[in-house]
């Protein structure tokens, strides 16, 4: 099958690759770039496990063709933070026990980060509504809501240049 050349920035690194026009972005990330932190949990764009940020917007990467991402900046869970230098949302998910099997977690964290960065309100109802596109089968979402609130506190605290109040205080 004929291929097309695309150029994308993923987690701050520039890639040029040949892709088939039918290749979904999620498989490009997973199989061409080896970024398997982004998971696939369905074939109907229902579960949200494959959520990544494209130019700062949260997107289900199974709904995008790789060729459509040509020229875009993409952030996956691997680019959000690493062990030892965690993003506040990653840290909050662990502290609040907001993950069990962890399969939906990368997508859930990316969606949560996007919610906070877009200035969404952080009431329980607002968070539940905001995460509607991401399914979790383990946690019942209870601790995910708590984690997003804690992560948002830290992110917004950092944005304002103040110390992060959530850290350590929510065991």
């Amino acid at each position: 099958m004929a291929t097309r050349r695309i150029s994308v920035s993923v987690n701050g690194k520039q890639y040029e690759r040949e892709v088939e026009p039918r290749d979904l972005l999620v498989y490009f990330l997973r199989e061409t770039l080896g970024l398997t932190g982004t998971n696939v949990g369905c074939d109907t764009s229902s579960c949200g496990s494959c959520t990544v940020l494209i130019n700062g917007e949260s997107v289900k990467s199974c709904t995008v063709l790789a060729v459509q991402a040509d020229g875009d900046e993409i952030t996956t869970i691997e680019g959000l933070g690493t062990d030892g230098a965690l993003h506040p949302m990653q840290k909050a998910f662990s502290e609040q026990h907001a993950l069990q099997c962890g399969f939906c977690t990368p997508g859930m964290i990316m969606a949560a980060v996007s919610l906070v960065e877009h200035g969404a309100g952080m009431s329980e109802d607002e968070i539940r509504l905001g995460l509607e596109g991401n399914l979790c089968r383990c946690t019942g979402y209870h601790n995910i809501v708590k984690a997003v609130q804690a992560g948002a506190d830290t992110m917004r605290g950092q944005g304002a240049g103040s110390p992060s109040p959530a850290e350590g205080a929510r065991a």
Binding site: E20, R22, R30, E31, G34, L35, T36, G37, T38, N39, V40, G41, C42, D43, T44, S46, C47, S49, T76, I77, E78, L80, G81, T82, D83, L86, Q90, F93, S94, E95, H97, L99, Q100, C101, G102, F103, C104, T105, P106, E124, D125, I127, R128, L129, L131, E132, G133, N134, L135, C136, R137, C138, T139, G140, Y141, H142, N143, I144, V145, A171
Partner: protein
């Protein structure tokens, strides 16, 4: 000696950073689909679109010639590759369990990885395509031309038992797989005939689709020079996969290594041996290169087991005050077209607890397993126990209405009194410990029961569009599977033990090997907490190995809330053995008699001389160096234990909720949900709560949202995540959780288990609340899931019934007249209150 059961220690009983998390939250964890091997091929399964049909021809020519295709095989092509069919480990004969009556052989159909001539459910595999890429394999699979002669289809398990029904397996001449009877105490017949009050109800347990968010995947790497194979599978049961792949594929176990890397949830759906595991292994064996199969979600809806699928006839006999005299349950199990690993045994897991936490002098349970042209059912979170709990808790509410008692009061009247030692229960088992009234009291207090009853009365008074309902459910979870002797008596092929090894390494680090196989349950964290406290080492110095039959060759894996009470207990006993051995070395080094050594503050010290002591780290190195060991002391400082429990454990709880029902639209809002559980001693409260949250959410999903719906041709209409309603965050409430602790008398740690509790308790709590809200409108029955349409229809039907019977006096049926099976369905009574 310190003990976990003594409560809060340095790590046990508290929260610690979960060891599983760093890799999962950074995207570094590897699930089976994340593994790529050089030269790896992709396999796709071609599935039957019809629910019952004879394969008249399969043309693989076009598929075989498609780009990238390496092989296309049909069921006939692979017929010679199987040493045995796919296993059923729990075949149930037609048997009377407590009476010495003749038994009939179990009817277990041969279940091959691919159908050879007849397909019996839509989704059954008929061919496989192996290609260089998954995309090419998927494209080629479309080109496999299979012709079917369609046969009549039977989808309803009760219709399948009727005279003249379509037969799923011709060789049996019937769709009945088995009938199994279990009776305890007085003969139920006379008890029900003479009882002042008899409640008879019929409940449907719709099929549920488990939907672990990670779909199944299998990767097999052959090591052709050694005839060895490594199998990665997204499974809960690597040890069973190794055993049954050996049996099915005729490969010695010693040549098979099974790894389940990270597993993205299971809920029972990965407690199975699947055709695709055998097919991937055989494909890799035939081709001599790695082969990977990854399930698609819509495929999972057909190819992975379904849960529940039962029809229940539930009867209670009681005094006029509502004191239970007898419990009689009859269950029809829709097995589907084949028996998977445990299919016939699932209702048997509930057979002993249809009385819940209540006493009853007469008890009877009967189950008939039936074949239909639908995908097989098997274990789904709770497995048999949610069905049992639903039946007793729904029926208790009906009984409360009949005898005019508050449902909480009726339950309290019938509860077993608190106990700490094994105590006989109505279903014939000895419960381990419990304080059931305390559970209900605490839950009522946390819910604000009395205040809500007042609000309910006010809303009723003013005819509020939104009516308030209070739901009560208590539960007993029979878990800690299982005493091997009991399993043997129930005709289960395997045992129920678990094993563990704890090794002290020369650096002072501790290596723990467990036979449990977590997939979200935090065993790595929880086990490390136990080890760190019992050995006086840092939590960070404990490494827990699992999920690889090379490092953990013995074990029986994770399901049935067994891990802490069987696997955790095995670990605890291994630790005691290790400590006993280390004490000998400490005594030798400190030049005192062993009796003079005591364990205090995480160290071995000379009694009365705390400054003379040794820690496990020091002893680890001196054992390894072997420079100065007691005579006959082998230099490996490790402890190993296998624990075969003497009894089940019986977690219990009371789950109460308050719901609001919009009587105009049928919308249901869960306003407050309170879970009070007794899972025995808590090792990690945060992990326990997480299990409760997730379990309750799955149970609410069962009560309110989820149902597998088939058409009359056996085609799944809710065949994807788009139309099978898995609740999102916005569709669930938050939860209030609390605990009552009665240490289990079954094991030394006093632990019981918590994995399935929420799913067992919550469905009847929600449905009882809906019926409580709608009682004044005349609604006394609603099927699961209680979605807005069902609620609205029930309200309309009751209104119609009221209008129709407005000229007839007396709405409620008489107490004791028995009704025929089926009477309870969608029963609408006249104005009862």
């Amino acid at each position: 000696m310190t003990s976990v059961a003594e409560g809060r220690q340095r790590y046990v009983g508290g929260g610690v950073p979960r060891k599983e998390d760093p890799k999962l939250i950074t995207g570094q964890a590897k699930f089976t689909e994340d593994l790529f091997l050089p030269g790896m091929l992709a396999m796709v399964v071609v599935r039957s679109p019809v629910a019952h049909g004879r394969i008249t021809s399969i043309d693989t020519g076009a598929a075989a010639a498609a780009p990238g295709v390496v092989a296309v095989w049909t069921g006939q092509d692979l017929a010679g590759d199987w040493a045995a069919a796919l296993p059923t480990a729990w075949p149930i004969p037609t048997v009377h369990w407590t009476k010495a009556e003749p038994t009939a052989e179990p009817r277990t159909p041969e279940h091959w990885p691919l159908a050879k001539d007849v397909v019996r459910f839509a989704g059954e595999g008929v061919a496989v395509v192996v290609a260089d890429t998954r995309a090419n394999a998927l494209d080629a699979a479309e080109l496999v031309d299979v012709q079917y002669e369609e046969l009549p289809v039977v989808t309803d398990p009760e219709a399948a038992l009727a005279e003249g029904a379509t037969i799923v397996h011709e060789a049996f001449g019937t769709n009945k797989g088995f009938t199994w009877l279990h009776t305890v105490g007085e003969d139920v017949g006379p008890v029900f005939e003479s009882a002042p009050v008899v409640v008879k109800e019929r409940y449907l347990q719709p099929r549920l689709i488990p939907n672990a968010i990670e779909m199944r995947a299998v990767l097999v790497q052959p090591l052709t020079s050694q005839d060895e194979y490594t199998i990665w599978s997204s499974t809960q049961i690597p040890h069973f996969v190794r055993l049954f792949m050996a049996i099915c594929c005729g490969i010695p176990e010693s040549k098979l290594r099974v790894i389940n890397p990270n597993v993205g949830g299971g809920f029972g759906s990965k407690l199975n041996i699947y055709a695709e595991e055998a097919l991937t292994l055989v494909a890799a064996k035939r081709l001599g290169v790695p082969v990977k199969w990854v399930e698609e979600r819509t495929e999972a809806y057909l190819a992975t087991i379904h849960g529940r699928g039962q029809v229940q006839y539930m009867e209670l006999a009681a005094t006029e005050e509502g004191k239970l005299l007898g419990v009689r349950a009859r269950v029809i199990l829709d097995q589907g077209a084949y028996q998977q690993l445990l299919t016939p045994g699932i209702p048997i897991l509930g057979a002993f607890i249809y009385h819940g936490m209540y006493t009853a002098p007469a008890y009877s349970f009967e189950c008939t397993g039936v074949f239909t042209n639908l995908p097989p059912t098997d274990a789904y979170r709770g497995a048999g126990r949610p069905e049992a709990t639903f039946a007793i808790e729904r029926a208790m509410d009906t009984l409360a209405r009949r005898v005019g008692k508050d449902p909480a009061e009726l339950r309290r009247l019938n509860m077993m009194a608190p106990f700490n030692e094994p105590t006989p229960a109505a279903g014939g088992l000895n419960f381990d410990s419990g304080n059931y009234p305390a559970l209900l009291d605490k839950a009522m207090e946390l819910l604000g029961y009395d205040e809500l009853r007042r609000e309910q009365a006010e809303r009723r008074q003013r005819g509020d569009v939104r009516q308030l309902g209070i739901g009560i459910s208590t539960y007993i979870e029979m878990c800690g599977l299982a005493p091997s002797q009991v399993l043997s008596a129930l005709n289960y092929a395997g045992g129920g033990w678990e094993s563990s090894v704890v090794r002290c390494l020369p650096t002072g680090k501790i290596e723990v090997v467990t036979g449990t196989s977590p997939h979200g349950q935090s065993h790595v964290t929880t086990w490390a907490q136990i080890v760190a406290d019992e050995l006086g080492v840092d939590y960070d110095d404990v490494e827990v190995l699992h999920g690889d039959t090379a490092s953990s060759p013995t074990g029986l894996d994770t399901y049935g809330s067994r891990s802490i009470s069987v696997g955790g207990e095995a670990l605890y006993q291994a630790l005691q053995k290790l400590r006993a051995k280390a004490a000998k070395l400490a005594a030798h080094e400190l030049e005192v008699a062993e009796d003079d050594i005591e364990w205090a503050n995480g160290r071995f010290q000379v009694r009365g001389a705390p400054d003379r002591s040794r820690g496990i780290g020091e002893l680890s190195f001196s054992a390894w160096s072997a420079h100065n060991l007691p005579p006959g002391f082998d230099p490996v400082l490790e402890g190993e234990a296998t624990w075969d429990p003497v009894n089940f454990t019986f977690p219990a709880g009371a789950h109460l909720c308050a719901v609001e029902v919009d009587t105009e639209t049928g919308q249901l809002f869960v306003r407050k949900y309170v879970a009070v559980d007794d899972c025995g001693v808590l090792i990690n409260p945060q992990v326990v709560e997480g299990q409760v949250h997730g379990g309750v959410a799955q149970g609410i999903a069962e009560a309110q949202y989820e149902e597998a719906v088939f058409d009359e041709n056996g085609i799944l209409l809710t065949g994807s995540m788009v139309n099978y309603r898995i609740p999102a965050a916005s569709e669930l409430p938050s939860f209030t959780t609390a605990h009552v602790v009665t240490p289990s008398s079954t094991n030394q740690m006093g632990v019981k288990g918590i994995g399935e509790a929420g799913t067992i308790a919550s469905p009847p709590s929600i449905i009882n609340a809906v019926l409580d809200a709608l009682g004044p409108l005349g609604v006394t029955h609603i099927e699961k899931p209680a979605n807005p349409e069902r609620i609205w229809r029930a309200i309309q039907a009751a209104a119609g019934q009221r209008a129709a019977s407005s000229t007839v006096t007396g709405g409620v049926g008489s107490g004791s007249s028995p009704t025929q099976p089926g009477d309870g369905q969608a029963k609408i009574e006249g104005s009862a209150s």
